[in-house]
Symmetry: C2
Subunit: 149 residues, 2 copies
């Protein structure tokens, strides 16, 4: 069995790809049965599409791979706490668990600005976990914004 | 100038297309300067992708059309109150205003289950409006679910 450390590092490698394309560096992977079935990174500027966050793109890829919108038993590792759009997409695609490597104080929708997975009435409740052992996940974002000033 | 009635009927025509493809019948259009620049309908089952809601697809199309993720001054007409994912996508793409033709008591994120556009700290606040004069928007959804029983 691979560890959270291993998979979060794979998500981080995706964030590096985004950084090298001059995107806010966020990466994600989706894991099923201990294997990565999809990898993606933020491509909002390159694709000129505000929905092209790492999480949406990795859900698209995983759905294609499984030929199913229902991402049963899948775990998402993502370097930053998902925004409301992405937290909503995680609910929609029935992802079992989300593990994120940094908190997003601006628009994090798991714990920072709202707790979307605690709102009553939805038909799916993903498990969520803040993984605080990979500081690179937040550092790469700070470095990106520093380089922009 | 076209009316809300006109544009909501265009969104409803998209919902009919979804119905005819055996999808939950939801349709959307995006309007800029009184012209429709994108039309889409829910394709979740056909595309086997939980993110393929009418709103996400119509944002994708409008972004392509304008060659820009920033959908400045755009208005979305959608037959059903957006879910959290789609309300988040509306914020991300900076859509100016959303007009919806029916309320979604299950997971509407504008007024029914949460009020996403009132949460403090986000960097964009779309105007939203419930347009209650096209009953077909909700009727087609009820009819769809009745046909499934």
């Amino acid at each position: 069995m691979h560890t959270d450390k291993f998979f979060m590092n794979c998500a981080y490698k995706e964030a590096i790809k985004a950084y090298n394309k001059d995107e806010v560096p966020i990466g994600a992977v989706i894991v099923l049965n201990d294997k990565i079935i999809a990898r993606a990174h933020n491509l909002k500027e390159n694709l000129k599409n505000a929905t092209a966050h790492a999480e949406i793109l990795v859900i698209n890829k995983a759905s294609k791979k499984l030929n199913n919108w229902f991402l049963k038993d899948c775990i998402m590792y993502v370097t930053l706490e998902p925004c409301p759009m992405c937290a909503g997409a995680i609910i929609q695609s029935r992802i079992k668990k989300v593990i994120y490597g940094a908190k997003s104080y601006q628009d994090g929708a798991i714990e920072s600005t709202l707790k979307m997975f605690e709102i009553k009435g939805f038909n799916h409740y993903p498990i969520s976990q803040y993984y605080d052992k990979n500081e690179n996940c937040s550092k790469i974002i700070s470095n990106y914004f520093k380089s922009k000033r």
